[in-house]
């Protein structure tokens, strides 16, 4: 496949090449919607069936970390949009700056996610043999607020009265929690790889008002991954909190 400048040989014009790449990404995002769709359906049906256990699951998540991460991700969408705009108007150095900012914010998000995952491991909230929703309230550490622990204990007792099988059903919640946020994180990692590739291109001054398709197409992908989180956050963190 021969190539003249940025134009591949099987296209007639750069404009045709750009339309093709953009349409390709949009269609890819449609397939992603359906890919996540299966998970969202599984979540919805189980949330409906086991609302008590899912409420207990939501309560264990850290709202400060989750909410903070949501803000970080929205900021990264802004910087991504600014990178695309900078490329379109020809501000070459700003393309690099905004891309690096986007990558930094994405990395912060992933770092916070690791902290959250570690908490779940510490609290025996990973599905498997040692899963126990009561573990944290029964094994408080010195840093835990005794009042909070007492409140959690009381809530759990009520929940167990409503749904004696709560340990099994809460495992479903955490299977979905790790499945959905894990798949989302995997998309973030792929996105970070794409950003690194763009940053390399932007240092070489590849992106100009005439040719900026890669920035725009990766931007579409990045915004999509953010939107998935915008749905995941309320579904996993907010519904049935402290009922």
């Amino acid at each position: 496949m021969h190539r003249t400048g940025e134009l591949y040989g099987h296209f007639e014009t750069l404009e045709q090449q750009k339309d093709t790449a953009t349409l390709g990404m949009w269609i890819f995002l449609v397939t992603e919607v359906l890919f996540f769709g299966g998970l969202f359906l599984t979540y919805t049906i189980n949330r409906h069936a086991f609302s008590t256990a899912f409420g207990v699951g939501s309560n264990t998540l850290d709202l400060t970390l989750g909410g903070g991460n949501t803000v970080v991700l929205i900021m990264s969408s802004l910087t991504m949009a600014m990178a695309v705009w900078s490329a379109q108007v020809g501000k070459k150095q700003w393309v690099s700056i905004f891309l690096i900012a986007t990558l930094a914010l994405g990395t912060i998000f992933l770092g916070v996610k690791i902290v959250e995952y570690k908490q779940k491991f510490d609290h025996h909230l990973v599905p498997g043999r040692s899963f126990d929703v009561r573990y944290r309230s029964e094994h408080p550490t010195a840093s835990d607020n005794p009042k909070e622990i007492a409140a959690e204990k009381e809530e759990l007792e009520k929940a167990f009265a409503k749904d004696p099988d709560i340990n099994a059903h809460a495992q479903l919640y955490f299977s979905l929690y790790f499945g959905m946020t894990g798949l989302h994180a995997l998309h973030m990692i792929v996105g970070a790889g794409l950003l690194l590739w763009l940053i390399k291109g932007s240092f070489a001054g590849r992106f100009t008002p005439q040719y900026n398709t890669p920035v725009e197409v990766v931007g579409l992908y990045w915004h999509f991954v953010d939107i998935v989180w915008i749905y995941l956050f309320p579904l996993l963190y907010l519904i049935d909190r402290h009922q």
Binding site: M1, G9, T20, L39, S175
Partner: protein, 546 residues
């Protein structure tokens, strides 16, 4: 003067394994789907030999479960779904719309590699103990109880799904953005319309089976509970998600075959196709309605009666666009000057077998009747009429029709006609008795049967051996013709599509000059370049035997 084409432009194994030429990638697919066809066929042969006697002839019950599972997995995921789109579609769509290649040539090659990686996982599963869940992977059998190599198979099918998604994506974008000047939407060959509809199903359905199998696989590996009732999960949810893809997947198999038939019939009837826009629209209608009928696989699995009524009604609706196609094909034949060339024999075979397969599908969509014939050989016969009688007939017919374009050589015509008839006879003898068996109550997937069913089972096995001959013959003479066949020329039939206006085999860039389309599709009258003179439309096609 030696002619440079896509086959002799470069040489060596690297020039094939790293090619981005859609025509070479199509041939890579041709080779690999053929391998899977013979693997799946081997399992089918063993099944039919086993069923020669009521007590079972060949294998243990456990092995029998593995045979029909592996037959289904190899044939559906690794032969039928990629066959026409990834071989013929890949080769022809850029040629038919006057493009130099597909929109994303590297992604096209990537999807072949994904197919190969997925295929290796599945072959690994076959080789290390096989797989006994049925191709449907119903939970909790597949996720908890089965002691066979389910995990590598699930991983393989999961991976292979992305090959299908990327092919569909590539086709849709190509058809939108790569058409030559003058190639408007309603001048597109119906083969391209059919592939557009197929691609819609590929991109909308395949991600759902991917996530479903991912969840089932995670459930098996980490003992999670998504579909396991013991842990609060819902096995019927798995079935809904599975059929949300796997019913539309039937249309991934049959729609491209319908596209092939829509090309063959006008060519050998020497007439413009009847009702072009209706055939094009019915492809899209089948793809759309096809997404709304999945729960008709679950009438006896426990769903609300209102859901069952709705899905039954919607299943009947699919018959309308399917019938539109059949009526339009037969109307095209009316007063045409029909020649009985090999592709045309396959096209006639397709219409007849698809008709039977489609009508028996209506029996199964009927709520009351379905309870009687559910999970019997009636279902087996029905879907083999669609998938083998329909999709495979279309595939083999299409291979013959475009063989001169792909290889530049003609196959031996009379041998090919004999093979086509053998295939048709063998197919009917194999599967028609199964309709009767199912109606009489023989359940599918059993390794034994009552002695009174033996005659029909022996007939079916006898038919299968004729069918096998019908597949081996084209394998042999098509391979032979690549070297010894008569040189074909640009347009041996002659046919009207753009792919016939370039050399056979085409050059790497497809066309020396980007073509400009000024004619309507399937118009034989205003095409002096075809060499058909007015008033004498019966110019004989060029044959390999002439």
């Amino acid at each position: 003067m030696p002619h440079e084409d896509y086959l002799n432009a470069t040489y060596g194994i690297r020039s094939w394994l790293l090619t981005t030429d859609h025509k070479r990638i199509a041939l890579l697919y041709l080779g690999s789907v053929t391998v899977f066809f013979f693997i799946g066929g081997l399992f089918a042969t063993m099944i039919r030999i086993h069923l020669l006697t009521p007590t079972g002839y060949l294998v243990t019950p456990e092995t029998y479960n593995k045979l029909f599972t592996m037959h289904g997995v190899a044939m559906i995921f690794f032969f039928l779904i990629p066959s026409i789109p990834a071989v013929l579609g890949n080769f022809l769509i850029p040629l038919m719309i006057g493009a130099k290649d597909l929109a994303f040539p590297k992604i096209n090659l990537l999807s072949w590699y994904i197919y190969i990686v997925g295929g290796c996982f599945v072959l690994y599963s076959f080789a290390t103990g096989g797989l006994d869940t049925g191709w449907t992977f119903y939970t909790p059998l597949s996720s908890i109880y089965s002691n066979s190599a389910v995990t590598p198979a699930v991983i393989g099918i999961f991976i292979n799904g992305f090959s299908s998604i990327l092919t569909g994506l590539n086709f849709i974008v190509t058809i939108h953005t790569m058409r030559a000047p003058g190639m408007t939407w309603f001048r597109l060959p119906l083969f391209v319309w059919a592939h557009y509809a197929t691609s819609l199903v590929m991109i909308l359905g395949t991600p759902v089976i991917a996530i479903t199998l991912l969840l089932a696989g995670l459930e098996r590996m980490f003992h999670l509970g998504f579909f396991n009732p013991a842990l609060g999960g819902d096995p019927i949810l798995f079935q809904h998600l599975f059929w949300f893809y796997s019913h539309p997947a039937v249309y991934i198999m049959i729609l491209p075959a319908m596209g092939v038939i829509s090309e063959i019939i006008p060519t050998f009837a020497r007439k413009p196709i009847f009702g072009y826009s209706f055939i094009a629209g019915s492809s899209i209608a089948i793809a759309v309605i096809g997404f709304l009928v999945w729960a008709h696989h679950m009438f006896v699995t426990g769903e609300s009666v209102y859901a069952a009524l709705t899905f039954s009604f919607l299943s009947y609706l699919v018959a309308i666009p399917s019938a539109v196609k059949v009526f339009n094909w037969t109307s095209t034949l009316y007063k045409g000057s029909i020649s009985w060339d090999t592709p045309m024999i396959y096209a006639f075979g397709f219409i007849g077998l698809f008709l039977i397969g489609g009508l028996t599908g209506l029996f199964l969509a009927c709520l009351g009747l379905d309870i009687h014939i559910h999970d019997t050989y009636f279902v087996v016969a029905h879907f083999h009429y669609i998938m083998v009688g329909g999709a495979v007939m279309g595939y083999v017919g299409g291979l013959h029709f475009w063989w001169p374009k792909i290889t530049g050589r003609l196959y031996p015509e009379y041998l090919a006609r004999i093979a086509a008839v053998t295939l048709f006879v063998g197919f009917n003898l194999t599967f028609f008795p199964q309709f009767i068996l199912g109606y009489l109550g023989m359940p599918r997937r059993y390794h034994t049967y009552p002695p009174e069913f033996q005659v029909l089972n022996v007939l079916s096995t006898a038919g299968a051996s004729i069918l096998a001959l019908g597949y081996l013959l084209p394998m042999l003479y098509l391979t032979w013709s690549m070297r010894y066949g008569k040189v074909a020329g640009q347009n041996p039939w002659p046919a009207t599509g753009l792919e016939w206006k370039t050399d056979s085999p085409p050059p790497t860039e497809n066309f020396d000059v980007t073509p400009e389309v000024t004619w309507e599709p399937y118009d034989f009258q205003n095409r002096p370049d075809l060499g058909l003179t007015a008033g004498a439309p019966t110019l004989a096609p060029a044959h390999g035997d002439d």
